[in-house]
Amino acid sequence: MTKLFRLYTRFAAGFADSIIRPFYNIGDVVVFLGKTIRTVPNIPKSLGLIFDSMLEIGVRSIPIALVISIFAGATTAWQANYQLQEYVSMRYLGTAVSKSLILELGPVLTGLVVAGRVGASIAASLGAMRVTEQIDALSTMAIDPIRYLVLPRVTAAMIMVPILTIYSVFFGIVGAMFVSMYFLGVTKGIFIVGVRHYFYYTDIMVCLIKAFIFGTGLSVLGCYYGFKTTGGAEGVGKAAIKAFVSSAIFILLSDFIVAALAF
């Protein structure tokens, strides 16, 4: 019994540690962000690189973001129907679904998907460059690696994550509409009236602000853990994990903060 207890406390301590650990590096990450911001005047010189990153981060993430958002929309509609049917007219189904997609599910799910698909891959590829001295090689050629490797990725994520999020929200609402039409007996017209009702532009602004913050955070964290990689191939794998875990925590935390500030 005591053995079991000890095992449990050790597990709990490890768990707490893995939650707290990302916070140890906050100062470091902020310094890294500062270095990145200092290279912003070089954006015109790096347009080609930024464009490549936009393709990689944005365009290639569309399929997965699409699939996930359609299902998220469909599920939200189904469950909103279940929750509302006793008390509220189905005219408000569209309202409930679109609000939750615009304000919460769209940005957060897109952020998490991109953190997994792109943030982790940024960390892995920069980590591999670090351990094979490619980043050092850039430095010795007098090419600032932050300018050459980090600036394009962060800029691209800042632009593409909000765009992806808008896509996700749109297709989420489409998914919800189909479920409403074919399974819940709510007509297209009623659903759309519901969406339009209480549609505020500030909601879209909050959605975009969230997406922008998530995109910045996940790309900076991916680059940061990539640059900090040590310990060969194993270190590269760890960098990818750290990038994803810290991005996920960052996204959920900043989501709450933005919500608390906005409303």
């Binding site: 094979t132 001295e133 850039l138 010795t140 050629m141 600032d144 050459y148």
Partner: protein, 275 residues
């Protein structure tokens, strides 16, 4: 005049001393070979010269300027004087061979793409690698990567070139070609060079002076003649490549399976007697 100087450089990696007290000067236009055992800190020393690593103590001078505590942005100015051949070539594997060699030119010079292409072709030809501009680094052998790395190091026509084992992994004929190239760059273009190498043939062929790094210190510096007439046992053992001498290679003596079985059996027999 001193082009590069290391003064009392010390470097620890998590309290393990790698450079204990390195004092080294490289004169303008000379080729200095640095020899020393594997793992003694030669690559670490080279990285101090371009500011990739900072000494825990001591100073690094380039052209008389103290670069030890220069901030990163200032260091780029210094690094433009250098070409650096990494031990592992360190080619960017997202770029083609041609883009790798021309990277510095594309990012830092005002040359047109045609001009850059022409320089790239020329430099690749100098290392015997013409016509592979469109290969990806992953498709090259180790020796080919090394030579592309060398082409990249000389592409910007630097004043100083640091070679980390330029001939390792090359066949003897190609190794000699690279030695010729190092000599050409030194005599014709007056480039100052440091050549880190284990290859004693290469040392004799390219160097004006030789320094040996041992236990974190420079224990010998001299010309090829002085190398041949030195009384320093450690240096003699190294250049003659013997395992017997003042340097004790820290490997377990190889014991054959048969011998192990015999030892094991006799041990058991001895234990048997005492029981």
């Amino acid at each position: 005049m001193e082009k590069i100087e290391l003064r009392g450089v010390k470097k620890y990696f998590s309290s393990k001393p790698v450079l204990r007290d390195v004092n080294l000067t490289v004169r303008k236009g000379e080729t200095l070979a640095v020899i020393g055992r594997s793992g003694c800190g030669k690559s670490v020393m080279l990285k101090h010269i371009v500011g990739l690593l900072k000494p825990d103590d001591g100073k690094v001078f380039v052209d008389g300027e103290d670069i030890t505590d220069l901030p990163e942005q200032q260091l780029y100015r210094i690094r433009k004087k250098f070409g650096f051949l990494f031990q592992g070539a360190a080619l960017l594997d997202s770029l083609t061979v041609g883009e790798n060699v021309g990277l510095g030119l594309a990012e830092l010079s005002e040359y047109t793409p045609e001009k850059i292409k022409q320089i790239v072709t020329e430099k690749l030809a100098m290392v015997g690698m013409e016509g592979i501009e469109n290969y990806m680094p992953a498709d090259l052998s180790g020796g080919m990567k090394k030579r592309v790395g060398l082409a990249r190091a000389i592409a910007m026509e630097p004043e100083i070139i640091l070679y980390d084992e330029p001939t390792t992994g090359l066949d003897p004929i190609m190794a000699d070609t690279i030695n010729e190239l190092i000599n050409y760059l030194s005599t014709e273009l007056k480039i100052t060079s440091i050549v880190v190498t284990h290859d004693i043939t290469s040392v004799r062929k390219v160097s004006d002076r030789i320094s040996m790094l041992h236990h974190g210190e420079i224990i010998f510096t001299g010309t090829v003649e002085e190398l041949d007439t030195t009384g320093n046992e450690v240096v003699i053992q190294f250049i003659e490549g013997r395992s017997e001498g003042p340097i004790k290679p820290s490997v377990k003596k190889y014991i054959s399976d048969d011998e192990q079985r015999i030892r094991f059996n006799s041990k058991k027999r001895v234990e048997g007697i005492f029981q």
